[in-house]
């Protein structure tokens, strides 16, 4: 079987029932060659909406969420640092500070959003074997595949050809792409259709830049021709153009009706806020679109990133970002759709801890990510980075290590927001990822309907630290479908320990950790996760 076919089968829905599917063995887990259809509910019946804000160019995480009390930060960034007198805002209970421009934007900005429980901040988001090319790393983020995951792709040059959102729709809509709703599944504001919204079976969205122009176009754009029957390149290109022409005609009325019937309750600012205003109006007008992609460029600040007092380009971008999200959330609350919406930022990488000689920063690795929405569990996820080593000459051009695999958030959104099951996530992302608990309130045993606390923990690992031979014990309140798996500390699935129905009562399973290091052992009972750290000394 060729890779293309693998992707087709994992992306597109198939009629094969779950039990009958053939599985490849991958890291001890079955990966379905012919994936079962979406196990979770039908996405078309969901009223949930995902908004993705892409920050192109590589947003500087260290000057977005600032480790203000770390002297190393100030030493590494003598000219562009945020100083105490610039009034960054401390995130309660942490040593991390919002850049002042994130707060001084609209009605308290990110600080207020956070304090009101609508904003989560993730530090150290990234992936294994980071690539410092804008384009390659963007493709990795948008595709949801890390080609250097050694057990997925063996070749770092492998082409990334479709996106995680595109695959999600292709996987979850049985009739995709032939029989689709009258609204676009996804709308991208501006530019050419993103890799994120493409799938092997077809595009899962449209791009519009200027809604007025899109709506005012004349009808009858598509010719009367039918699609050509052949499968050679010529017919494929011909049919592609025909399909875009027909989509231009088809979606125009629906989008226009929603836009004209919708409203905003906020006077949106220029730039990104204006894009948010367009989205708010379409949601308000009842458009069924599930995913919106907004894009903001300019983050590649090799030069003159900021001036003293935090004026300059990067602060202005942060202010625009904060204003857009804050205004949108205020509007969403006013209009009553805030609990249907979850949004997140993505950026291809962060920047080098040490500034360069041009009052700027060169390409780096991990960055920060924001997740916003009414149902988000606000807070700071991840730690301030350890910057001490970058002061050493040997490490002056080194980059940050990541703390969390970027697909943890994708997986959590697919499962919690859109109701996908683990197997769906695996079909879409190629692997499973442990939730961070940003949407999902279940990484604790408090009020867990299935798992009891006993001996002080819901999941007891012993010995811990261990030499590798571990027993995991837990107590069920009632019979449940249980999965016990080991994940890397970054959140990527490593091995399944046990899976199956367990009776009520105390259980204990034994396993061998594959390598030394710190692991997350995750007990999942009927969709609720409990995670415990496991230290393996070898």
């Amino acid at each position: 079987m060729k890779r293309r076919d693998f992707l087709k089968y994992t992306a597109a829905a198939s009629a094969v029932a779950a039990g009958a599917a053939q599985g490849f063995r991958l890291g001890g887990l079955p990966v379905y060659a012919q994936s079962p259809p979406m196990l979770g509910g039908n996405v078309l019946e969901s009223d949930k909406i995902l908004i993705i804000v892409q920050l192109f160019g590589g947003n500087d995480g260290l000057n977005t969420i600032v480790p203000l009390n770390d002297d190393n930060y100030h030493n590494l960034r003598p000219t562009i640092r945020v100083r105490p007198e610039d009034n960054p805002a401390q995130i309660a209970g942490s040593e991390a500070y919002f850049h002042p421009a994130l707060v001084d934007s609209f009605d308290g900005g990110f600080l207020k959003l956070h304090d009101e429980g609508r904003l989560a901040v993730i530090q150290g988001i990234g992936y294994e074997h980071p690539n410092l090319s804008h384009f390659r790393s963007t493709d990795i983020w948008l595709s949801g595949y890390n080609p250097r995951d050694e057990d997925i792709f063996s070749d770092p040059q492998v082409r990334l050809l479709d996106g995680w959102v595109g695959r999600f729709f292709a996987h979850s809509i049985p009739t995709f792409p032939s029989d689709l709703p009258s609204y676009p599944l996804a709308i991208q504001i501006g530019g050419q259709l993103s890799l994120m919204l493409q799938s092997d079976a077809g595009d899962a969205g449209i791009a519009i830049t200027d809604p007025e122009r899109f709506f005012s176009q004349d009808g009858g754009l598509s010719a009367d021709e039918a699609a050509l029957p052949g499968v050679d390149a010529y017919e494929k290109e011909y049919n592609y153009i025909l399909q875009v022409a027909q989509a231009s005609d088809r979606y125009k009325d629906e989008v226009k009706a929603a836009y004209e019937g919708g409203k905003t309750t906020i006077q949106y600012g220029e730039g990104l806020p204006q894009q948010f205003g367009t989205v708010a109006r379409m949601i308000s007008g009842g458009l069924g679109t599930k995913v919106y992609l907004l894009r903001m460029g300019g983050f590649d600040n090799h030069v003159n990133q900021a001036f003293e007092g935090q004026t300059g380009f990067h602060p202005a971008l942060l202010q625009q970002l904060s204003m857009g999200i804050s205004q949108f959330m205020a509007d969403a609350v006013n209009q009553g759709f805030a609990d249907r919406v979850v949004g997140m930022t993505v950026t291809e990488f962060g920047r080098r801890p040490r500034e360069n000689g041009s009052r700027g920063t060169d390409h780096g690795t991990t960055s920060v990510q924001f997740v916003f929405g009414e149902r988000v569990r606000a807070g700071l996820y991840g730690d301030n980075p350890d910057l001490a080593r970058f002061l050493k000459d040997s490490d002056r051009n080194s980059n940050l290590d990541y703390q969390n695999d970027y697909r943890r958030v994708y997986a959590e959104i697919l499962e919690v927001l859109f109701g996908a099951e683990k197997a769906d996530v695996e079909a879409i992302l190629g692997k499973q990822f442990v939730h961070m608990g940003i949407l999902d309130p279940a990484i604790s045993s408090v009020d867990n309907p299935f798992v009891n606390q006993f001996s002080g923990a819901a999941l007891r690992l012993s010995p811990n630290p261990s030499a590798g031979n571990v027993s995991a014990a837990f107590e069920l309140k009632r019979p449940a479908m249980v999965d016990i798996s080991l994940y890397s500390i970054k959140g990527v699935h490593e091995m399944r320990i046990r899976h199956g129905m367990f009776n009520r009562g105390v259980h204990s399973v034994h396993f061998n950790a594959p390598n030394g290091g710190v692991w997350l052992c995750v007990l999942e009972a009927e969709g609720r996760q409990i995670a415990e750290k496991l230290v393996v000394l070898r």
């Binding site: 490849f24 021709e225 030069v303 041009s358």
Partner: protein
């Protein structure tokens, strides 16, 4: 076989980024290679060559090359051979005296002055892109301007980036430089680009100084300009940045201009004189006495370029630069789908690069004379770029290009200002629900605006113009890349004979003294043809 194995089978050494994935592993299925295409060009061959190598066929060029051999036709279209250093090609007249005007540094000026300067620059950018469109439109050998456009999208600079502008006077000089080197020695070309004033300003070169390297240009030099991903390490990017330290361009009247305004110059104390190890070679440390413009340029800049061009692997089966540039040329002239071209063809093409010591005219000529290029499967598979679609159509129709530069920017080919440093994505990215309606509107407006008499004269240049059936067939052949079905042909004849016109009345209409009546019907035909998907193909 496990998934890892079948993924490995389908990976390729090429690093071209794929953004439009549909049916991505299909190729054209052409087995003919780079061997010369024998015999004389038929009318269909000549039209194919003009579609791909120029912006669109015109009556004049078609008459010139039909019946010639591929060799003769390609040489004719490339024009005389020049040498940029010994016998330079005459360059077009500048767009106006403003190309020598100067400004102070707007970032040092007060806000009002800064706004005034930037307003003038915006204006100059408008004039510059319109000037280029007019060059493309008026050039008697438009293949040459299509090459300029190729290089402009390859060695990219942007007019607007971050919150600053490229100085239009530098962009103008860079554009002329592309003309001088577009058919020449690629190594010399890369050297020119590396020290080009607009480039030094755009990718941080002017801020790249000893002790504080800015690696922006060094990274893109590898990733986007010469080798593509996968041929160099992060350490080599950093070492290359050090090689490139010490160059600036004079661009403001408030700053030094030791070599004259808008010229690049070398500042010894900003150059890192230490040894640099990269790409399997060492650029030796230099004594202060030898830290001069001439020596650094010769030993370090040229030395590094030689190392880049020498990169090869698999016992010489893959040469980095020949592969990377060859693949780009293949996508530009043969099929833009972002997949690896046929391996046999690429091996032959790579050999041409090496045999001709990276002389671009020789390489280009080989592609356009090849049997591969003239295969039926190659015809019509290329999605027209905005330049081909808009400048090309205006040329074909003899229509004014007055609105073309603005229209091209709306459909995402803003000359001198691509979206980012990777240039234009191309292929299906050109056609979206955003751009398709705008392309259609442009065509409609252009057809409407051609004066009646001119339109009739245009039609009368086709053999058999006074026969409605022959004329329709000739216009189809002229404007569409492949023959159409009988049904479509009949529909186009009906479009020409609009308003109950009988076929026997056509000779009288086209031969009459009132052009209005014929023009009305010609517009009806052109409008019908322009709505077909294949009107966007070439």
């Amino acid at each position: 076989m496990n998934r890892r194995d079948f993924l490995r089978m389908n990976t390729s050494g090429s690093s071209f980024r794929a953004r439009s994935p549909q049916d991505w592993d299909d190729t054209l299925g052409v087995t003919a290679g780079l061997e010369e295409r024998p015999g004389q060009l038929t009318r269909a061959d000549a039209l194919h060559l003009l579609r791909r190598f120029t912006l669109a066929p015109t009556h004049d060029l078609l008459a010139e090359i039909e019946g010639k051999t591929a060799q003769e036709a390609v040489e004719l279209l490339l024009g005389p051979v020049y040498d940029p250093e010994l016998n330079p090609e005459p360059l077009p007249e500048p767009p106006g005296p403003w190309v020598d005007s100067t400004e102070e540094d707007p970032l040092e000026a007060d806000l009002i002055t800064r706004n005034q300067i930037e307003k003038r620059w915006e204006n100059q950018h408008d004039m510059l892109r319109q000037w280029w469109v007019e060059r493309m439109h008026a050039e008697t050998l438009p293949a040459r301007e299509k090459l300029t456009l190729f290089w402009s999208g390859h060695f990219t600079t942007e007019f607007t980036f971050d919150d600053v502008y490229s100085v239009p006077q530098l962009l103008y000089r860079q554009n002329q430089m592309l003309r001088s080197y577009r058919q020449g020695d690629l190594k010399q070309f890369v050297e020119q680009v590396t020290l080009d004033g607009a480039m030094l300003a755009y990718l941080g070169g002017e801020l790249n100084v000893a002790g504080n390297p800015n690696e922006n240009y060094a990274r893109e030099l590898f990733e986007l300009f010469t080798t593509g991903l996968g041929w160099y390490s992060e350490a080599e990017v950093q070492a290359s940045a050090r090689v490139l330290t010490g160059w600036k361009a004079s661009k403001y009247n408030s700053a030094p201009a030791p070599r004259g305004m808008y010229k690049s110059y070398f500042i010894p104390e900003d150059h890192d004189i230490g040894a640099k190890e990269l790409l399997g070679g060492i650029i030796a440390a230099r004594d202060e006495d030898f830290n001069t413009e001439v020596l650094v340029r010769r030993d370090e800049i040229r030395g590094m370029i030689e190392l880049i061009f020498a990169l090869e692997r698999n016992d010489g089966r893959e040469h980095a630069v020949a592969r990377f540039i060859g693949e780009k040329l293949y996508h530009y002239f043969i099929y833009s789908k972002p997949v690896a071209p046929p391996e046999d063809f690429m091996l032959q093409l790579q050999q041409r690069f090496i045999d001709n010591n990276y002389n671009m005219r020789a390489v280009l000529g080989a592609i356009l004379r090849s049997a591969h290029f003239y295969e039926p499967a190659v015809r019509g598979v290329q999605i027209k770029t905005p330049a081909e679609f808009m400048v090309g159509f205006a040329r074909q129709m003899g229509a004014s290009p007055a609105t073309v530069a603005t229209a091209m920017a709306q459909v995402e080919q803003d000359l001198f200002d691509p979206r980012d440093v990777s240039g234009w994505d191309g292929y299906r990215a050109w056609i979206s629900t955003k751009t398709y309606p705008l392309r259609a509107a442009f065509t409609r407006e252009l057809i409407r605006a051609i004066p009646d008499a001119q339109l009739v004269d245009w039609a009368r240049r086709f053999t058999g113009f006074d026969d409605a059936y022959l004329l329709t067939a000739a216009v189809e052949e002229f404007l569409l890349p492949r023959p159409v079905s009988t049904e479509r042909h009949d529909a186009y004849v009906d479009a020409l004979l609009t308003g109950e016109t009988r076929d026997y009345e056509w000779p009288e209409i086209i031969g009459g003294t009132d052009p209005g009546s014929a023009a009305l019907r010609l517009r009806s035909l052109l409008t019908a043809i322009s709505r077909a998907p294949d009107f966007h193909l070439c």
